[in-house]
Amino acid sequence: MIEPTYSPQQENILQACLVAMQSGASLKDCLAQYPNEVTWLKSALLVSSLMVRLPARELPAPNVARLEERLLATFEKQTLPKAKVLRPAPTIWAGWQRAAAMVVTVLAFGFLGGTGTVMASANSQPTDALYSVKRAWESVIVLIAEWIGRLDDVWAHLAQVRYEELLAMRERGTLQPEHLNALNIALENALLLADSETRPQVFMLVSQVQPTLSTLEPLAQSTEYSRLSLLLTVQFTPNGTLEWESLPAEAPSDNTSNVLIDPTATLFMVTLPTETPASTPSSTPTATSTPRFAPTATRIPAITLTNTPTPTLTQIVIATATHTLTPLPLPGLSQTRVIRPTETPSGTNPSIISSATPRPGDSQESPFIRLTFEAVYMTQTAEAQATEETP
């Protein structure tokens, strides 16, 4: 059989005829215009006409109506609450937070004034020379945010920053799985830490990322892409929490450690391991991971578990680290691990999967803007609180 030949000229002829026929020209007219192309053109135009004239398959009307009813119910339910500009803080903390904000501001300005490098790195992207400075400074922000109890806000913001970086990398044509991974980590932390006030903000970000996913097809085969797809399944539950599809439980590996946690306490913790200077992951443990939060579940309404947890939880650790479950004062922070429970497909013991990626490289945003924002934000909060209390 002779393979047909294709040429741009033929493509143009077919398109011109299709347009002409759509405007009322007959098949005969078109063929007359291109007598040398009749052999293939006639059958091509006949096929096109056939496809145009056949009735298209449709979803039956009752199904359309049923689906519409369901969607409208979802629409009503998912209409997002208006984001708050100010967050009323508990009275007891208002003054403290104001003081903390001042300290943060002084620290930030001191650092910025001292070097200027951080300022210059504020808008850097992952492939830029100053990006590591930006990330390092972000780790400081995270530390401070945790100190003043605003980790949820910071991770929500960092997830947004990671998303913007991802878009920038896509535009530059230098998108790599590691950029997706950075977004995954920040987004997952944001989802896990979100409380009733930050959930709409995080959910809004998810809504922004969702349509972007299909434009990341070059990475569609990567694990990072799959993981992001799962995170984007997040939905509001009827009780206002967030739920998303979990990763299937991973097989234990050599560097898997078993952590026993009281199942009634919590299935979530954030650890801030301390790395020794200039350490790199190796077969020799060089880092100590210290849980920052005792498992007291006060910040975790983001996850709804349906299975009753069992006492044995598997923590998958990527970096070599020794985990201690004793809360310690914060040392030099360099790595954060967010651990959350997932259900195994077989419905057996839930496992904890650690998104074990170095934290210093995780937190990222414009330090100047962020810290200023924090300071102003908390100051406003305190003022708002004070105003509210005034009879």
């Binding site: 047909p4 059958s43 006949l46 056939l50 496809m51 298209a56 398959r57 809504s207 569609a220």
Partner: protein
């Protein structure tokens, strides 16, 4: 649906008007359903995925921005991602047999009109030879009736690429029908 009207409906839906969203849904549900149906081999799965697409549209509506492309382009992209995700969950990519089993976007269950049935079956068979991209272009161009440029916008490809896909797809179908001994002119005449 006119673009101006669509824009207005999107804005109203963003503001929480459920009836505006219902109008958008009604305008686009069938094309989205057919788009998915041509990629999965299961009518019910196609319906579920259609539901999923609109559910995600609800979630993302607040951040949706009109970038000069029709609303349905956004829906198609969500649909595409959902189909890919469905195969990913199965742990594989679409195979030729999935394409073969995929439900043809033309109506085949007619109470009357044997010629229509025959034509639809013939096309179903011929479309098996097409690549994923070619099928998509054929559906958008000849089933949904989009202009070439609109298809290019929806698929985020340039018009020349769409033109090439269209040309090869139509000729591949014609060649298959010819090999199967199908007389297209007779089929067309029978539809009149």
């Amino acid at each position: 649906m006119e673009r101006a009207e669509e824009k207005k409906l999107i804005q109203q839906a963003k503001e929480g008007d459920s009836q505006a969203f219902a109008s958008l849904y009604q305008a686009h549900v069938q094309p989205i359903f057919r788009y998915i149906l041509a990629r999965v081999s299961d009518f019910e799965l196609a319906e579920d995925l259609t539901s999923d697409v609109f559910t995600r549209a609800i979630s993302g509506l607040a951040s949706y921005q009109d970038e000069g492309t029709p609303f349905i382009a956004w829906l198609y992209r969500i649909a595409h991602a959902r189909v890919i995700d469905t195969y990913r969950k199965k742990g594989r990519n679409p195979t030729p047999s999935d394409i073969e089993d995929a439900v043809v976007p033309f109506e085949t269950d007619f109470d009357e009109g044997l010629m229509q049935q025959e034509a639809a079956q013939a096309l179903k068979s011929a479309m098996r030879d097409l690549t994923e991209d070619q099928r998509t272009v054929i559906i958008l161009r000849f089933v949904e009736g989009y202009r070439l440029e609109q298809v290019a916008v929806i698929l985020k490809k340039n018009a020349n690429a769409i033109k090439a896909l269209q040309h090869r797809a139509v000729r591949a179908i014609a060649a298959r029908l010819e090999r199967n001994g199908v007389d297209i002119e007779t089929l067309l005449a029978g539809l009149s």
